[in-house]
Symmetry: C2
Subunit: 462 residues, 2 copies
């Protein structure tokens, strides 16, 4: 039963399991205590800190363990903003950060701070120049992920770190997706990561704060973890997390080559096997194990459900698979198709035959979902030379991918040069109608508010 | 090797270990995902929530899991304060709460809020009337522990909850020390607890918020745990925590009787076996497994070190065993002797023979530390009828227990009715000199600032 969602959570690495079990007997006591059980716990904690710091590329006394990666991000952002309060209250983030960063930014805004969200290109990558331009005299902190969690695109961390250094702004790197593959290059100031992403147990985050970085932990603190992460340390899990990180790093060189080839195979084949697919993210500067694509005329929830029935576990940034009914903020920032979105992220050790089977299964699954939704087959139908020049489709109240399916059908009712207007109130239409036009070679004329919902206008060009 | 510090952290319960190991294979995936690994994780999480909620005495949808007990306290206090911001910014706590509560209170004060710390009596207990008087029209939240973590005294939670209900103020109960023994009685609004205190793994806290309580989570949130505790859930640890709580509850009735008798034995014998000992905390309304006493003329660190050499692991609220060089805030609030302080908290299953051996070992350990420090033997020496009426001891720069030892020696140099003044700058003297007077039947005249440090005056009465 192939699990292809390592980017959400990796299965526990066998080394993590061993380390966890071995340290349950030694690591349960309070490491702040002077008695033997406390000293033993302290030794385990110190050794884990050394190992994790080496993998991160920092000094052990720069590294704190937190209760989760999300917590590390929150503590890191708030501690830095607070430590540089005198400089100003401006925060720079990329538009495609993990929600833990964007939620912190939103919270900072509602506390009266200001935030600049640096745009990304269609591959999901920020431009170092655009990022540098966002830095201001009152910028307290800049945040950039090492690699995007939804599309795998690597960010230019070293260049952005250099721009931040030149501007005297600390850079916080969310390394959650990449730390398994190697340390983050460049002169970062603060780094956050999450153990369950690399095969460690849940419940362990890393927060590294370089010496000399102004940092003032916010809220109530205690004496644990250099005063940066209050609460009793979860030592067996910390030991397991550090052991797993060492173990995956030992496999990283060989596995990155192997998984990169498997992902390359998916990237190449998916467009050949399934019509109307857009593979998104940077084709080269990317995580080795992750590929994301979107399928026209498919709703993400049905697709995931069918793939799950076929025993493939993947995730999706489509609106209809989330409770918010909006497409993933990453796909929106990239301006790419969001419907029928599938993220495949291969765990270490993924078998080639499972990837091949996925490619065998996928076309039938997509076709069955499309058939059920009444999607148009193949390219847009022949233009109707006798049709009206203007035709309006009312998709109000219909959810993704219906507005796009109705657009695809309606385009056949106008002659070349004619215009179809789609009325829709589903948020995904804003992304998916322009994306459809690009994929289909039709001209997107833009949107304007309608009496109800939004009117999207498309001119038939062929 | 008897471990007598369950109140810091209990050894992992065998049931917790089993449950942890069993759920490592099923509980690592993201419970928010729709695929089978996610659904399995969700089932485990839901079942653990049901079990824990039953043990707490709340509805499953009122209960969130957090990354630690400290985190549960912080989230609970900030969420309640924020939810009742319109009512006011006044917070009531007892003076003997856990540091996680007091740190939150201090942080609230530095944010501009106001805090009332309700005093306790010499047993460490708040008076329900005094607590009720502290409630005001602008009180947003009241906090009270179910039982004190250092001396074991049970707090009148049900009475205080009733007073809070009458005043329309929500009551947050820190149940960390008592939840193993049973649910918290009374109409509490919010409850926090910590799994490693009851034999669950570290990394799991409980936060229960009753329906209808105004609660607005502070800072960045996400969709996990009803929006109350951001970050990926640590499901294997949560499963183990819930299983351990059920298991200890099943043993609670029998073990509380058995451990209560062992503690009773320590309470009765320690004063007979060791001269100049004060047993502190409520002798009856107390946790079954915990007893605290203080030994005159002994420094806590040496005492703990010697007990550790004798293979007993205990903790201490003495100043010299902490990094802050101040005695525990609990002992200070109670106004009891802090020097040579020892907390014994027995884990489930503690053998009677280990307690007996502790009582055998303790007198020699205390005597050896006293001999090394040159403590006076037995009662105060004979009064010197020819001595000066006033005698001053300069203990500036000397740490606990030296000022008290020097006082005890100097008292022999004055006649009955004469006065000894001790000059000291160690914070513990403020607590320990009056406590010595009470234990020795000498008259404490009070303190006043001296050119350096503080002058403590004692009149010889016998």
């Amino acid at each position: 039963m192939p699990y292809f969602d390592a980017a959400s959570s990796a299965p526990l690495h066998p080394v993590a399991r061993q380390a966890l079990q071995a340290s349950l007997d030694e690591g349960w006591a309070d490491p702040a205590r002077l008695y033997r059980e406390g000293r033993r716990a302290r030794l385990l904690l110190d050794a884990a800190r050394e190992a994790a710091a080496e993998a991160v590329g920092c000094r052990p006394d720069e590294l704190s363990f937190t209760g989760s990666g999300t917590r590390a991000v929150h503590l890191g952002i708030y501690g830095s903003l607070s430590g540089r309060r005198r400089v100003g209250r401006h925060l720079v983030v990329s538009a495609v950060e993990h929600s833990s960063v964007l939620h912190s930014a939103a919270s900072h805004e509602s506390d009266g701070g200001s935030v600049t969200r640096v745009a990304v290109d269609r591959t999901g990558r920020v431009s170092p120049d655009a990022y540098a331009e966002a830095l201001r005299g009152d910028t307290a902190l800049a945040c950039l992920q090492s690699a995007n969690h939804e599309v795998g695109t690597l960010q230019p961390v070293a260049e952005v770190a250099e721009a931040c250094r030149a501007a005297g702004v600390p850079l916080l790197v969310d390394a959650a997706q990449s730390l398994a593959w190697g340390p983050v290059e460049g002169a970062w100031s603060i780094l956050a990561a999450s153990a369950h992403k690399w095969g460690g147990p849940a419940g362990v985050g890393l927060l590294a704060v370089r010496k000399g970085v102004r940092f003032a932990p916010q809220g109530p603190v205690d004496e644990r973890e250099s005063g940066r992460a209050p609460g009793f340390e979860n030592i067996p899990a910390i030991v397991a997390a550090a052991a797993a990180l060492r173990a995956v790093r030992a496999e990283a060189a060989a596995e990155s080559v192997r998984l990169r080839a498997l992902v390359e195979r998916i990237r190449a084949r998916v467009g050949e096997l399934v019509p109307d697919v857009e593979v998104v993210g940077d084709p080269v500067r990317r995580l080795p194990h992750l590929v994301t694509f979107s399928c026209l005329y498919v709703d993400g929830e049905s697709l995931l459900h069918e793939l799950d029935r076929a025993e493939f576990s993947v995730s999706s940034g489509s609106s209809c698979t989330s409770s918010t009914l909006t497409p993933s903020h990453v796909l929106r920032a990239m301006g790419v198709l969001s419907e029928g979105n599938v993220r495949v992220s291969l765990p270490l050790g993924t078998a080639e035959r499972d990837v091949e089977r996925f490619l065998e299964v996928l076309p039938g699954v997509v076709a069955s979902v499309r058939a059920r939704l009444g999607a148009p087959a193949g390219a847009s139908g022949a233009a109707d030379p006798a049709g009206a020049e203007e035709f309006t489709v009312d998709s109000l109240g219909r959810l993704c991918p219906i507005p796009v399916i109705e657009l695809a059908k309606a385009i056949g009712r106008v002659p070349v040069g004619g215009v179809v207007t789609v009325l829709a109130d589903d948020e995904a239409a804003r992304l998916d109608i322009p994306a459809w036009c690009e994929m289909r070679g039709q001209e997107y004329l833009g949107e304007h508010p309608a009496e109800r919902g939004v009117a999207y206008r498309v001119r038939r060009t062929g």
